[in-house]
Amino acid sequence: MAERPQVAPAARNFGRDETGDSPAARLARLKEGDTVTAHISRWDPGTEPAPRFETYRVPYTKWMRVLEVLTYVSEEIGGDLAHRWFCANRMCGTCAVRVNGREVLACWEPVEPEMTIEPLRNAPVVRDLVIDRSGYEQRVSGLVPWLERREPYRGFPEPLTHPAMAAADKALDCISCMCCFSACPVIGLGDETKFAGPAPLVQLARVALDPRDGIDRGRIALERGAVFDCVSCYKCEEVCPVSIPIVTGSIEPLKALAFKSLPRKSRHARVFLAIVRSRGRIDPSALVLGVQRLTALRHPLRVLKLWRHGKIDPLKTLFGFRLPDIAQIRQIFEAVRGGSR
């Protein structure tokens, strides 16, 4: 991959007002007559060994979006820039690219004065900014995310309230744009994990959290979605263009369903609970060891890196730290367990 030109990274979806990254603040930085500089990744894998960046200068028009830059380049200067889009209205979810390293919808994202534009990650590039969506689509359909009714349909309109649909409601905003799928570091691990990825699990959550659905979605989340491989890093929520609470609203509820359905196979949840029960709080290296067992040691460099960054502390794990109030925490466990019986 060609080296990406150094341009200030865009802030995340969170805290945009505070960081001066709100649409209003960003649009105020540009005025008509200005020029937008775009370093765009170009690559024809059929004929070229590696992607390269080409720089284009595009006249700014009022409230300009990244899609307009791409269209201008393909029609006026680049001649043949391949980029996919259909609706230009935040609906079809096909125009996602990375701007300054972050996943965005080209049709919805305001331009930056200077920006890099690259294809999404975690999918093969067909040409330039267009990725092959088929791997993603196979993961989605592998989770059979269509309603399988608990009871026969009772005719229109069926009895259903909005509060009953509230848990599934936010997941219904998903437009399968693949922004989160591209940003997910677990998907980035490739074949090391069978994790289905954030958006496919949002698609699953749509039906899993729908009160009308009747099949064992916890089993699907676990066996086909490897839902416990989610590391709750929230990269998906940071980039979601429609602000779906992917981890808290879809993945965590699916984990709960998986644990409820297959507690013995939900190793991650069991180890997690056991650690908290014995130590009073989670210990990352104990968790990794408990879940992955010896395979966790297959990547010693990764272990060292995690240690160096303070993500794990094997010494603490080894010497078995415990919170002083552990007795109280165990009482809570007993109370919860008693209550759930």
């Binding site: 409230w63 043949d80 609706c87 209205n89 305001p110 067909v126 969506r133 229109f156």
Partner: protein, 573 residues
Amino acid sequence: MRRVAAEAVVIGGGAAGTFAALELHRRGVKPLILCKGLVGKSGASIFAGNLVVPGRLLGNTEQQARDTAEFLIRMHNHFLIDQHYARAAGEWIEREYYPELERAGLYLRRDEHGEIVTNEGPVRCMAAHSQGESGVLFMDLRRKQVLQAGIPWLEETAATALLTEADGAIAGVMALDLARGEVVAIESRAVILATGYADRFYPRSTATREMSADGIAMAWRAGAELMNLEIQWWHTSDVRYPLCWQRTQVYPNPIIGSSHSARLYNSGGEVFFDQEADAPIAMGPYTLQLKRLAKQVLAGKARFDGGYYSGFNHVAPDVVTAYTDYAKAFAAVGKSVASDTLETACSAHYRQGGIVVDPATMATRVRGLYVAGGVGGHSNGLIAPVTYDGMLAAETVATDLPRLKSSALPEDKAAAEEARLLALRRSLPSNGVAPAHVKRALRSVMSEKMGFFKDAIMMNGALAEVTRLRDELLPAMGLANVTPRLNYTWLDAIDVVNLLDVAALTIRGALNRTESRGPFYRTDFPEMDNANWLVKNILTPTPNGDVRFRTEPYELPFFKPDFVRRHSLEVDW
């Protein structure tokens, strides 16, 4: 050239096409979907913001049922619709359509007590999940139903020609697989065209990127008749900036859960359209909005391409945000739906006319060619009736298939089409012109001479210009890069031929209709003329490639206009 065979081919992956495929599958016919974009993602069906409550559904009164039917026939089709078809479609929508969607899982927005949320008023609508986003959920459901049924599709594969036998019957479809850059020949005796209601003829359009009159062009070349091409609808309140948001609408329809809707303001800040007061029956008051705007343009207080404003700042913000996504455009440009308006402009929307079909069967006069949805001339492309079309077309194909004789692909015609496509993928000659520039030249002609205000002189000028573009620019057209792989400029070159041909036919149709009707307006014939022009304006291909015109009257069994002639700007539909 790759070869494929299918019992039936459905061209188009929107509401009409997917339902036709599902219905064929249900009837034991094995269809293949050919989609220029991505099934359920490309095409205009995702834009369906509102789902109309027909008949006596959800407690509609007899009067509301009648108003809803009248809304479809008068407001939406200006009486250019077969009323028996409209009635049958309405009954099917009430009886089959919503139950089928809900059974499959579509969530129609409820309130806390379980009531489906609708607007108040004579014509009501509901929403799937959120008003403005209904089509997205709807098409996501259709995509999954097609996947679940295991119906094969070729995505990002553009149909380029219908192949016919010596006797004129359909023998197959030619297509371009865009990602691979490969020509595909599909052998099939039955084709359902479902390519949608819009084309990107104008600088601003509500159509998705790939919609470029392909269905109409292919059907015409295969011998089908066309009608009412000139009845071009406009969206009056689409956001003007950013320039790519041509379909981002400040919806004029009533907000569900209320009786309120957006207002339009001229450059001086005066309200010139308020749906609540001006058009209570007009669920989609597009034509009335357009006529009000035209008067503002004449008064110098707005332009068709901007200089007027739309918003909800007279409505309590929680009413706007309770069940709709209408705040999204405001937020994305740093504005507030509670206090701000946005500058709006016109975008070309539905084409009311299209391919001539028998509205009882969806058959065309070409044996083996059927139509579903907005590409047909029988109706304008609302999402529920187009789904009915899909059902009807599938039913007819399933019945006809045993009678359609099997035949081999006409090799000479397939080879000629492959050669035509490959010839369009040539390098840009010196002094050559890129396909995108030809598209832009066409759009500029259409916007200058075929906009709302036009007369015979302007239209003849437009026809001459389009002819010049075809004769002079097409031979000079070439590509900056001739890679076969995902070459959108190659696709543009294919599109532009269709666009130019259909633009010329549309202008000729417009010249032939010597009246004004609905959104179609001529300054030299400003009256709506129900004595002479409440008819189908039909174009028939002649053997030498020219056009012959004829008209056919409509039956008016249930609703009829209450005047013979009136100045069109004074009529509210």
